[in-house]
Amino acid sequence: MPHDPTDPNQWVDLYADALFSFALKFISQTDQAQNLVQETFLAALKNRSGFKGNSSEKTWLLGILKHKITDQLRLKYKEVPASQLVEADTHIEDFFDNADYGHLKKKPGDWAFNPSDLIENKEFWRSYNDCLEKLPEKTAQAFSLREIEDMDSKEICKVLGVSSTNLWVLLHRARLQLRQCLETNWFEHDTAR
């Protein structure tokens, strides 16, 4: 059957996996992510007139999903008591050597990559997702909102219910850990190929 992106009957087959994969970067529970995808399709079909055709159907559906994700996150963190606001920012020191200059335990390598090559590489994104999954939930959410959504720091603080200082710690932790994980699981193997 030829793909017709304008045919809503095909939207689930065409886009559900991509939407699901995207949602998982912000929502760790599979069933919750699934529900958001379902709600996205429902909302899209109820409001078909909202699609102006300025972008692709996929982009439009993704936009709806993004709103639902941030709404859900806002709701989730609205009632969190202050003492729980920061995930253990423990162990940042574990990345560093205690002796000498106290530099990172291993010298970061030279990631000679061309972004355009990796963008479409599903294997890479699977590795990336595996690494993302290892982060504490709010740390991963902060990072995804900042780096994928390009959301402003102030806005992220509102969505996640954290102070800006808390946010910097979360983002720093995310970068340290993701970088290390990707280096070990992807970039080091890549150069060996």
């Binding site: 559900a16 996996d17 399709f41 990172l104 970061p108 355009s116 994104w125 720093h172």
Partner: protein, 91 residues
Amino acid sequence: MILLDKLLEQLPLIPCQEATRLASKAMDQKLSLKERWDLWLHLRVCDFCTQFSKQIHGLRELLRKYQPQEEKNLSLDAKNKIKLSIKGLLF
């Protein structure tokens, strides 16, 4: 430039833990003059942190261009459930 770097090395340097923290912070927030100086000086003489900074910027560039793909697949059951739920809205 080697002499300059040797001189710079004599100046008080922040530790790497602090430098990476600032390198990260600079990606989200404008640093103060002191922070910018501390970071610049450290990166000038520390190749570990310089590489770190390159990597996290490279990662940002990559993620900003990210387009959702089918990295993870919904089960057939899940897809059917969704199809069922939207059935009434299709015409």
